[in-house]
Protein backbone atom coordinates (compact mmCIF):
# COMPACT_ATOMS: atom_id res chain seq x y z
CA UNK A 1 0.00 0.00 0.00
CA UNK A 2 1.20 3.45 -0.85
CA UNK A 3 1.46 6.32 1.53
CA UNK A 4 -1.20 8.93 0.79
CA UNK A 5 -0.50 12.63 1.07
CA UNK A 6 -3.56 14.84 1.38
CA UNK A 7 -4.71 18.15 2.74
CA UNK A 8 -6.24 18.32 6.24
CA UNK A 9 -8.12 16.92 8.19
CA UNK A 10 -5.91 13.88 8.61
CA UNK A 11 -7.53 11.98 11.46
CA UNK A 12 -10.03 9.31 10.50
CA UNK A 13 -12.59 8.10 12.99
CA UNK A 14 -13.85 4.55 12.89
CA UNK A 15 -17.35 5.76 11.98
CA UNK A 16 -17.87 5.85 8.27
CA UNK A 17 -20.55 7.88 6.53
CA UNK A 18 -22.70 4.82 5.69
CA UNK A 19 -22.59 3.66 9.31
CA UNK A 20 -23.75 7.01 10.71
CA UNK A 21 -26.47 7.27 8.07
CA UNK A 22 -27.64 3.76 8.93
CA UNK A 23 -28.07 4.70 12.57
CA UNK A 24 -29.94 7.91 11.79
CA UNK A 25 -32.27 5.98 9.49
CA UNK A 26 -32.71 3.39 12.23
CA UNK A 27 -33.63 6.14 14.68
CA UNK A 28 -36.27 7.42 12.25
CA UNK A 29 -37.88 4.03 11.75
CA UNK A 30 -40.30 4.16 14.71
CA UNK A 31 -41.70 7.47 13.49
CA UNK A 32 -41.83 6.18 9.91
CA UNK A 33 -43.64 3.05 11.02
CA UNK A 34 -46.05 5.12 13.06
CA UNK A 35 -46.87 7.23 10.02
CA UNK A 36 -47.87 4.08 8.13
CA UNK A 37 -50.02 3.07 11.09
CA UNK A 38 -51.64 6.51 11.26
CA UNK A 39 -52.08 7.31 7.58
CA UNK A 40 -52.17 3.87 5.99
CA UNK A 41 -50.31 2.36 3.08
CA UNK A 42 -50.25 5.72 1.27
CA UNK A 43 -47.61 6.93 3.71
CA UNK A 44 -45.40 4.03 2.67
CA UNK A 45 -45.81 5.01 -0.98
CA UNK A 46 -44.81 8.58 -0.27
CA UNK A 47 -41.67 7.35 1.50
CA UNK A 48 -40.78 4.85 -1.23
CA UNK A 49 -41.20 7.35 -4.07
CA UNK A 50 -39.20 9.97 -2.22
CA UNK A 51 -36.33 7.63 -1.38
CA UNK A 52 -36.25 6.05 -4.84
CA UNK A 53 -36.20 9.43 -6.61
CA UNK A 54 -33.50 10.72 -4.30
CA UNK A 55 -31.31 7.69 -4.96
CA UNK A 56 -31.82 7.80 -8.73
CA UNK A 57 -31.13 11.56 -8.88
CA UNK A 58 -28.00 11.10 -6.79
CA UNK A 59 -26.73 8.30 -9.03
CA UNK A 60 -27.45 10.18 -12.27
CA UNK A 61 -25.83 13.37 -11.05
CA UNK A 62 -22.74 11.63 -9.75
CA UNK A 63 -22.49 10.05 -13.20
CA UNK A 64 -22.92 13.45 -14.86
CA UNK A 65 -20.30 15.04 -12.62
CA UNK A 66 -17.95 12.13 -13.37
CA UNK A 67 -17.71 11.20 -9.71
CA UNK A 68 -17.61 7.82 -8.04
CA UNK A 69 -21.19 6.56 -8.30
CA UNK A 70 -20.79 4.19 -5.39
CA UNK A 71 -21.25 7.30 -3.21
CA UNK A 72 -24.94 7.09 -4.10
CA UNK A 73 -25.13 4.10 -1.77
CA UNK A 74 -23.60 5.80 1.27
CA UNK A 75 -27.07 6.27 2.71
CA UNK A 76 -27.11 10.07 2.62
CA UNK A 77 -29.48 10.24 -0.35
CA UNK A 78 -31.65 7.55 1.26
CA UNK A 79 -31.82 9.64 4.43
CA UNK A 80 -32.61 12.84 2.49
CA UNK A 81 -35.46 11.02 0.73
CA UNK A 82 -36.82 9.63 3.99
CA UNK A 83 -36.59 12.99 5.79
CA UNK A 84 -38.30 14.76 2.92
CA UNK A 85 -41.12 12.21 2.93
CA UNK A 86 -41.62 12.69 6.66
CA UNK A 87 -42.19 16.42 6.15
CA UNK A 88 -44.87 15.96 3.47
CA UNK A 89 -48.64 15.73 3.90
CA UNK A 90 -49.85 12.12 3.47
CA UNK A 91 -52.39 13.10 0.82
CA UNK A 92 -49.82 14.65 -1.52
CA UNK A 93 -49.66 13.63 -5.18
CA UNK A 94 -46.79 11.18 -5.71
CA UNK A 95 -45.44 13.09 -8.74
CA UNK A 96 -44.91 16.07 -6.45
CA UNK A 97 -42.99 13.87 -4.04
CA UNK A 98 -40.69 12.88 -6.89
CA UNK A 99 -40.16 16.52 -7.93
CA UNK A 100 -39.33 17.48 -4.36
CA UNK A 101 -36.83 14.65 -3.92
CA UNK A 102 -35.16 15.47 -7.25
CA UNK A 103 -34.86 19.16 -6.32
CA UNK A 104 -33.48 18.22 -2.91
CA UNK A 105 -30.70 16.08 -4.37
CA UNK A 106 -29.95 17.93 -7.60
CA UNK A 107 -30.28 21.59 -6.64
CA UNK A 108 -29.59 21.57 -2.92
CA UNK A 109 -26.93 18.87 -2.79
CA UNK A 110 -25.17 17.96 -6.05
CA UNK A 111 -25.05 21.48 -7.46
CA UNK A 112 -23.29 22.67 -4.35
CA UNK A 113 -20.68 19.94 -4.81
CA UNK A 114 -22.28 16.83 -3.37
CA UNK A 115 -22.10 15.28 0.08
CA UNK A 116 -20.42 17.56 2.60
CA UNK A 117 -20.42 20.66 0.42
CA UNK A 118 -24.06 21.73 0.58
CA UNK A 119 -24.99 24.83 2.57
CA UNK A 120 -28.66 24.02 3.09
CA UNK A 121 -30.29 20.87 4.36
CA UNK A 122 -31.35 19.13 1.11
CA UNK A 123 -34.57 17.63 2.45
CA UNK A 124 -35.74 21.04 3.66
CA UNK A 125 -34.86 22.72 0.37
CA UNK A 126 -36.93 20.06 -1.37
CA UNK A 127 -39.81 20.77 0.94
CA UNK A 128 -39.46 24.55 0.55
CA UNK A 129 -39.55 24.12 -3.23
CA UNK A 130 -42.70 22.02 -3.02
CA UNK A 131 -44.27 24.55 -0.66
CA UNK A 132 -43.65 27.32 -3.19
CA UNK A 133 -44.58 25.21 -6.22
CA UNK A 134 -47.73 23.53 -4.90
CA UNK A 135 -49.05 25.66 -2.04
CA UNK A 136 -52.47 24.04 -1.89
CA UNK A 137 -51.56 20.33 -1.84
CA UNK A 138 -48.76 21.14 0.58
CA UNK A 139 -51.19 22.66 3.08
CA UNK A 140 -54.03 20.21 2.70
CA UNK A 141 -54.07 17.87 5.66
CA UNK A 142 -56.13 14.74 6.07
CA UNK A 143 -57.34 13.56 9.40
CA UNK A 144 -55.38 10.97 11.25
CA UNK A 145 -56.83 7.50 10.84
CA UNK A 146 -56.51 6.78 14.52
CA UNK A 147 -58.74 9.73 15.27
CA UNK A 148 -61.28 9.66 12.45
CA UNK A 149 -62.34 6.96 10.05
CA UNK A 150 -63.11 9.21 7.08
CA UNK A 151 -60.37 11.22 5.44
CA UNK A 152 -61.72 14.74 5.50
CA UNK A 153 -59.60 17.84 5.34
CA UNK A 154 -58.70 19.20 8.74
CA UNK A 155 -56.36 21.73 10.26
CA UNK A 156 -53.06 20.80 11.87
CA UNK A 157 -52.70 21.61 15.58
CA UNK A 158 -50.66 24.71 14.73
CA UNK A 159 -53.02 25.76 11.95
CA UNK A 160 -55.95 25.23 14.26
CA UNK A 161 -54.37 27.42 16.86
CA UNK A 162 -53.28 30.14 14.48
CA UNK A 163 -56.53 30.57 12.56
CA UNK A 164 -59.21 29.34 14.96
CA UNK A 165 -57.48 29.50 18.32
CA UNK A 166 -58.10 25.85 19.15
CA UNK A 167 -55.56 24.15 21.39
CA UNK A 168 -54.91 20.46 20.85
CA UNK A 169 -54.49 18.29 23.97
CA UNK A 170 -50.89 17.58 24.95
CA UNK A 171 -51.56 13.84 25.13
CA UNK A 172 -52.75 13.74 21.52
CA UNK A 173 -49.69 15.65 20.38
CA UNK A 174 -47.38 13.31 22.25
CA UNK A 175 -48.91 10.13 20.87
CA UNK A 176 -49.48 11.43 17.37
CA UNK A 177 -53.25 11.52 17.48
CA UNK A 178 -53.31 14.59 15.23
CA UNK A 179 -53.26 15.69 11.61
CA UNK A 180 -49.99 16.72 10.06
CA UNK A 181 -47.17 15.57 7.84
CA UNK A 182 -46.04 11.95 7.85
CA UNK A 183 -43.34 12.28 10.44
CA UNK A 184 -44.45 15.10 12.66
CA UNK A 185 -47.44 13.45 14.28
CA UNK A 186 -45.96 11.59 17.20
CA UNK A 187 -43.58 13.66 19.27
CA UNK A 188 -42.85 10.70 21.53
CA UNK A 189 -41.47 8.39 18.83
CA UNK A 190 -39.32 11.16 17.39
CA UNK A 191 -37.99 11.89 20.85
CA UNK A 192 -37.16 8.20 21.21
CA UNK A 193 -35.14 8.19 17.99
CA UNK A 194 -33.44 11.43 18.91
CA UNK A 195 -32.37 10.17 22.31
CA UNK A 196 -31.01 7.01 20.68
CA UNK A 197 -28.79 9.14 18.42
CA UNK A 198 -27.76 11.25 21.37
CA UNK A 199 -26.76 8.18 23.42
CA UNK A 200 -24.79 6.79 20.48
CA UNK A 201 -23.16 10.23 20.15
CA UNK A 202 -24.12 10.66 16.51
CA UNK A 203 -25.55 14.12 17.12
CA UNK A 204 -24.30 17.04 19.16
CA UNK A 205 -26.44 17.36 22.31
CA UNK A 206 -26.23 21.15 22.12
CA UNK A 207 -28.39 21.37 19.01
CA UNK A 208 -31.64 19.76 20.25
CA UNK A 209 -31.11 21.32 23.68
CA UNK A 210 -30.57 24.77 22.14
CA UNK A 211 -33.50 24.53 19.73
CA UNK A 212 -36.05 23.03 22.11
CA UNK A 213 -34.80 25.08 25.06
CA UNK A 214 -35.03 28.38 23.21
CA UNK A 215 -38.48 27.56 21.83
CA UNK A 216 -39.60 26.77 25.39
CA UNK A 217 -38.06 29.96 26.77
CA UNK A 218 -39.27 32.35 24.06
CA UNK A 219 -42.79 30.94 23.90
CA UNK A 220 -42.81 30.74 27.72
CA UNK A 221 -42.12 34.46 27.94
CA UNK A 222 -45.00 35.21 25.59
CA UNK A 223 -47.29 32.79 27.41
CA UNK A 224 -46.51 34.37 30.78
CA UNK A 225 -47.15 37.79 29.30
CA UNK A 226 -50.55 36.83 27.89
CA UNK A 227 -51.69 33.24 28.33
CA UNK A 228 -54.96 33.87 26.52
CA UNK A 229 -53.38 35.04 23.33
CA UNK A 230 -50.25 32.88 23.11
CA UNK A 231 -50.02 29.08 23.31
CA UNK A 232 -48.26 27.38 26.20
CA UNK A 233 -44.64 26.24 25.74
CA UNK A 234 -45.49 22.52 25.99
CA UNK A 235 -47.91 22.84 23.09
CA UNK A 236 -45.25 24.72 21.12
CA UNK A 237 -42.69 21.99 21.78
CA UNK A 238 -44.91 19.07 20.86
CA UNK A 239 -46.86 20.50 17.92
CA UNK A 240 -45.78 20.60 14.29
CA UNK A 241 -42.41 19.58 12.93
CA UNK A 242 -40.29 20.89 15.78
CA UNK A 243 -39.27 17.47 17.16
CA UNK A 244 -38.37 16.19 13.69
CA UNK A 245 -36.48 19.40 12.91
CA UNK A 246 -34.62 19.68 16.20
CA UNK A 247 -33.45 16.07 16.38
CA UNK A 248 -33.00 15.07 12.76
CA UNK A 249 -32.65 18.15 10.55
CA UNK A 250 -30.89 20.84 12.53
CA UNK A 251 -28.37 18.20 13.61
CA UNK A 252 -27.21 17.40 10.07
CA UNK A 253 -23.42 17.59 10.53
CA UNK A 254 -22.89 19.05 7.05
CA UNK A 255 -25.13 22.06 7.55
CA UNK A 256 -24.54 22.82 11.23
CA UNK A 257 -21.60 24.75 12.70
CA UNK A 258 -18.44 23.13 14.03
CA UNK A 259 -17.55 25.14 17.12
CA UNK A 260 -19.61 25.01 20.35
CA UNK A 261 -20.15 28.79 20.29
CA UNK A 262 -21.42 28.55 16.71
CA UNK A 263 -23.71 25.66 17.62
CA UNK A 264 -25.32 27.65 20.42
CA UNK A 265 -25.96 30.66 18.19
CA UNK A 266 -27.26 28.35 15.47
CA UNK A 267 -29.64 26.34 17.65
CA UNK A 268 -30.96 29.27 19.66
CA UNK A 269 -31.44 31.17 16.41
CA UNK A 270 -33.56 28.33 15.06
CA UNK A 271 -35.71 28.33 18.20
CA UNK A 272 -36.11 32.09 18.02
CA UNK A 273 -37.26 32.03 14.40
CA UNK A 274 -39.62 29.11 15.06
CA UNK A 275 -41.45 31.10 17.73
CA UNK A 276 -41.32 34.29 15.66
CA UNK A 277 -42.81 32.68 12.56
CA UNK A 278 -45.37 30.55 14.38
CA UNK A 279 -46.67 33.32 16.60
CA UNK A 280 -46.27 36.47 14.51
CA UNK A 281 -45.81 35.23 10.95
CA UNK A 282 -48.31 34.53 8.22
CA UNK A 283 -47.76 30.76 8.30
CA UNK A 284 -48.71 28.38 11.07
CA UNK A 285 -45.41 26.46 10.96
CA UNK A 286 -41.87 27.81 10.71
CA UNK A 287 -39.41 25.03 11.53
CA UNK A 288 -38.39 24.52 7.92
CA UNK A 289 -37.63 28.17 7.20
CA UNK A 290 -35.97 28.64 10.60
CA UNK A 291 -33.47 25.87 9.94
CA UNK A 292 -32.85 27.08 6.37
CA UNK A 293 -32.27 30.65 7.59
CA UNK A 294 -29.77 29.53 10.21
CA UNK A 295 -28.11 27.14 7.71
CA UNK A 296 -27.17 30.18 5.69
CA UNK A 297 -25.19 31.60 8.62
CA UNK A 298 -23.19 28.43 9.19
CA UNK A 299 -20.28 29.19 6.80
CA UNK A 300 -19.92 32.61 8.42
CA UNK A 301 -19.92 31.11 11.93
CA UNK A 302 -17.42 28.45 10.92
CA UNK A 303 -15.14 31.18 9.64
CA UNK A 304 -15.25 33.48 12.64
CA UNK A 305 -16.10 31.19 15.56
CA UNK A 306 -13.82 28.26 14.97
CA UNK A 307 -11.62 27.17 17.81
CA UNK A 308 -8.14 28.64 17.55
CA UNK A 309 -5.31 26.23 17.12
CA UNK A 310 -2.92 26.09 20.03
CA UNK A 311 -0.59 29.06 19.77
CA UNK A 312 -2.35 30.49 16.71
CA UNK A 313 -2.53 34.25 16.70
CA UNK A 314 -5.74 36.05 15.89
Amino acid sequence: MNLIVSSSPHIHGKDSVPKIMLHVILALLPAAAASIYFFGIRALWVMLVSIATAEISEYLFLLLRKKDTSAALDGSAFLTGLLLALTLPPSINLSMVAIGAAVAIIIAKQMFGGFGANIFNPALVGRAFLQAAFPIPMTTWVANRAAHIDATTVATPLGGFKFSHILTAHKDLLLGNVAGSLGETSALLLLLGGVYLLVRRYIDWRIPVGVLGSVAVFSGILWLANSNKYPDPVFMLLAGGLMLGAWFMATDPVTSPVSPAGIWIYSIGIGFFVVLIRVFGGMPEGVMYSILIMNSFVPLMDKYLRQRMLGEKK
Binding site: P135, I136, T139, T140, S164, G282
Partner: protein
Protein backbone atom coordinates in the same frame (compact mmCIF):
# COMPACT_ATOMS: atom_id res chain seq x y z
CA UNK B 1 -14.68 78.92 -20.37
CA UNK B 2 -15.34 77.92 -23.93
CA UNK B 3 -15.47 74.28 -22.84
CA UNK B 4 -17.95 75.06 -20.10
CA UNK B 5 -20.27 76.96 -22.39
CA UNK B 6 -20.15 74.16 -24.92
CA UNK B 7 -21.04 71.62 -22.23
CA UNK B 8 -24.00 73.65 -21.05
CA UNK B 9 -25.12 74.33 -24.57
CA UNK B 10 -24.96 70.72 -25.74
CA UNK B 11 -26.73 69.34 -22.70
CA UNK B 12 -29.43 71.99 -22.82
CA UNK B 13 -29.90 71.54 -26.53
CA UNK B 14 -30.51 67.82 -26.24
CA UNK B 15 -32.73 68.25 -23.21
CA UNK B 16 -34.88 70.82 -24.96
CA UNK B 17 -35.03 68.61 -28.02
CA UNK B 18 -36.05 65.67 -25.85
CA UNK B 19 -38.68 67.76 -24.05
CA UNK B 20 -40.07 68.91 -27.35
CA UNK B 21 -40.25 65.42 -28.81
CA UNK B 22 -41.84 64.00 -25.69
CA UNK B 23 -44.34 66.82 -25.45
CA UNK B 24 -45.25 66.34 -29.09
CA UNK B 25 -45.45 62.57 -28.65
CA UNK B 26 -47.61 63.02 -25.57
CA UNK B 27 -50.31 64.84 -27.52
CA UNK B 28 -50.87 61.63 -29.48
CA UNK B 29 -50.86 59.24 -26.57
CA UNK B 30 -52.42 61.26 -23.80
CA UNK B 31 -55.88 61.16 -25.26
CA UNK B 32 -55.77 57.42 -25.68
CA UNK B 33 -54.39 56.86 -22.18
CA UNK B 34 -57.25 58.91 -20.77
CA UNK B 35 -59.76 57.01 -22.86
CA UNK B 36 -58.30 53.71 -21.67
CA UNK B 37 -58.61 54.76 -18.05
CA UNK B 38 -62.15 55.95 -18.52
CA UNK B 39 -63.17 52.79 -20.32
CA UNK B 40 -61.65 50.74 -17.55
CA UNK B 41 -63.47 52.72 -14.88
CA UNK B 42 -66.80 52.43 -16.63
CA UNK B 43 -66.28 48.70 -17.11
CA UNK B 44 -65.57 48.33 -13.39
CA UNK B 45 -68.57 50.43 -12.41
CA UNK B 46 -70.72 48.45 -14.76
CA UNK B 47 -69.63 45.11 -13.36
CA UNK B 48 -70.13 46.01 -9.71
CA UNK B 49 -73.26 48.16 -9.86
CA UNK B 50 -75.03 47.00 -13.00
CA UNK B 51 -74.77 50.53 -14.40
CA UNK B 52 -75.86 50.85 -18.00
CA UNK B 53 -73.28 53.07 -19.71
CA UNK B 54 -75.81 54.16 -22.36
CA UNK B 55 -78.44 55.56 -20.05
CA UNK B 56 -76.80 56.01 -16.66
CA UNK B 57 -74.19 58.53 -15.63
CA UNK B 58 -71.78 58.63 -12.75
CA UNK B 59 -70.49 61.36 -10.50
CA UNK B 60 -67.27 61.38 -8.52
CA UNK B 61 -68.12 62.05 -4.89
CA UNK B 62 -64.61 61.60 -3.58
CA UNK B 63 -61.29 60.62 -5.12
CA UNK B 64 -58.34 59.95 -2.82
CA UNK B 65 -55.34 57.72 -3.31
CA UNK B 66 -56.73 54.83 -1.28
CA UNK B 67 -60.44 55.58 -1.51
CA UNK B 68 -62.85 56.53 -4.29
CA UNK B 69 -66.60 56.97 -4.15
CA UNK B 70 -68.87 57.22 -7.17
CA UNK B 71 -72.57 57.91 -7.31
CA UNK B 72 -74.32 56.09 -10.14
CA UNK B 73 -77.24 58.13 -11.40
CA UNK B 74 -80.09 56.84 -13.51
CA UNK B 75 -82.11 59.80 -14.71
CA UNK B 76 -82.36 61.87 -11.55
CA UNK B 77 -82.31 59.00 -9.11
CA UNK B 78 -79.29 57.56 -7.32
CA UNK B 79 -79.14 54.02 -8.56
CA UNK B 80 -76.14 52.82 -6.56
CA UNK B 81 -72.80 53.75 -5.10
CA UNK B 82 -69.47 52.30 -6.15
CA UNK B 83 -66.60 52.29 -3.69
CA UNK B 84 -62.91 51.75 -4.44
CA UNK B 85 -60.90 50.71 -1.40
CA UNK B 86 -57.29 49.82 -0.75
CA UNK B 87 -55.46 48.06 2.06
CA UNK B 88 -52.59 45.75 2.94
CA UNK B 89 -52.84 42.16 1.83
CA UNK B 90 -50.47 39.30 2.55
CA UNK B 91 -47.71 40.59 0.28
CA UNK B 92 -48.68 43.93 -1.16
CA UNK B 93 -51.59 46.31 -1.44
CA UNK B 94 -54.98 44.93 -2.43
CA UNK B 95 -57.20 47.34 -4.38
CA UNK B 96 -60.84 46.49 -4.97
CA UNK B 97 -64.11 47.99 -6.07
CA UNK B 98 -67.63 47.11 -4.94
CA UNK B 99 -71.11 48.43 -5.56
CA UNK B 100 -73.70 49.05 -2.86
CA UNK B 101 -77.40 49.81 -2.99
CA UNK B 102 -78.18 53.52 -2.41
CA UNK B 103 -79.53 52.79 1.09
CA UNK B 104 -76.48 50.70 1.95
CA UNK B 105 -78.64 47.69 2.58
CA UNK B 106 -76.49 45.28 0.66
CA UNK B 107 -73.44 44.85 -1.53
CA UNK B 108 -74.24 44.40 -5.22
CA UNK B 109 -70.95 42.89 -6.36
CA UNK B 110 -67.25 42.97 -5.64
CA UNK B 111 -64.24 42.96 -7.96
CA UNK B 112 -60.53 42.92 -7.23
CA UNK B 113 -58.63 45.60 -9.14
CA UNK B 114 -55.08 44.90 -8.04
CA UNK B 115 -53.43 42.24 -5.89
CA UNK B 116 -50.07 40.52 -5.64
CA UNK B 117 -51.06 37.67 -3.30
CA UNK B 118 -49.51 34.19 -3.44
CA UNK B 119 -50.60 32.44 -6.63
CA UNK B 120 -52.81 29.48 -5.80
CA UNK B 121 -53.56 30.68 -2.29
CA UNK B 122 -54.25 34.35 -1.60
CA UNK B 123 -54.61 35.10 -5.30
CA UNK B 124 -57.78 33.06 -5.26
CA UNK B 125 -59.59 36.19 -4.04
CA UNK B 126 -59.81 36.97 -7.76
CA UNK B 127 -61.70 33.74 -8.44
CA UNK B 128 -65.35 33.83 -9.33
CA UNK B 129 -66.22 31.19 -6.73
CA UNK B 130 -65.04 33.45 -3.95
CA UNK B 131 -66.29 36.76 -5.37
CA UNK B 132 -69.84 35.70 -6.11
CA UNK B 133 -70.63 35.09 -2.44
CA UNK B 134 -70.29 38.85 -1.84
CA UNK B 135 -73.52 39.52 -3.69
CA UNK B 136 -76.19 40.42 -1.16
CA UNK B 137 -73.89 40.72 1.87
CA UNK B 138 -74.81 43.43 4.36
CA UNK B 139 -73.10 46.74 3.69
CA UNK B 140 -73.01 47.76 7.33
CA UNK B 141 -69.27 47.88 7.89
CA UNK B 142 -69.20 44.98 10.34
CA UNK B 143 -68.99 41.82 8.25
CA UNK B 144 -67.45 38.75 9.89
CA UNK B 145 -65.13 36.08 8.50
CA UNK B 146 -66.15 32.44 8.92
CA UNK B 147 -64.60 29.12 7.90
CA UNK B 148 -67.66 27.26 6.71
CA UNK B 149 -70.11 28.03 3.88
CA UNK B 150 -72.65 30.57 5.06
CA UNK B 151 -75.89 32.07 3.87
CA UNK B 152 -75.97 34.79 6.50
CA UNK B 153 -75.70 38.27 4.98
CA UNK B 154 -73.30 39.41 7.73
CA UNK B 155 -70.84 36.54 7.32
CA UNK B 156 -68.27 35.92 4.58
CA UNK B 157 -66.50 32.62 4.04
CA UNK B 158 -62.71 32.68 4.02
CA UNK B 159 -60.63 30.87 1.40
CA UNK B 160 -59.07 27.89 3.12
CA UNK B 161 -55.34 28.33 3.49
CA UNK B 162 -55.58 32.05 2.69
CA UNK B 163 -56.96 33.45 5.89
CA UNK B 164 -54.80 36.56 5.76
CA UNK B 165 -55.84 37.56 2.25
CA UNK B 166 -59.49 36.86 3.07
CA UNK B 167 -59.25 38.96 6.22
CA UNK B 168 -57.59 41.75 4.28
CA UNK B 169 -60.41 41.90 1.70
CA UNK B 170 -62.99 41.87 4.49
CA UNK B 171 -61.22 44.66 6.37
CA UNK B 172 -60.94 46.82 3.26
CA UNK B 173 -64.68 46.40 2.56
CA UNK B 174 -65.69 47.14 6.15
CA UNK B 175 -63.44 50.18 6.36
CA UNK B 176 -64.50 51.56 2.99
CA UNK B 177 -68.21 51.05 3.71
CA UNK B 178 -67.88 53.01 6.94
CA UNK B 179 -66.01 55.79 5.17
CA UNK B 180 -68.49 55.98 2.30
CA UNK B 181 -71.43 56.10 4.67
CA UNK B 182 -69.89 58.93 6.63
CA UNK B 183 -69.14 60.92 3.48
CA UNK B 184 -72.68 60.54 2.13
CA UNK B 185 -74.16 61.49 5.48
CA UNK B 186 -72.02 64.64 5.56
CA UNK B 187 -72.96 65.51 2.00
CA UNK B 188 -76.63 65.00 2.78
CA UNK B 189 -76.62 67.55 5.62
Amino acid sequence: MKDSLRMIAVLTFFAVLSGGILGWFNTFTEKRVKENKLRELIASLQSVTGMDPNTDTYKIVRKDKDFELYRIISGTETKAYAVVGEGNGYQDKIRLIFGVKPDFSEIIALKILEEKETPGLGARIEEEGYLKQWKGKAANGSLKLVKTPTENPYEVQAISGATISSTAVLDIVNKSVARAKKLIKEAGK
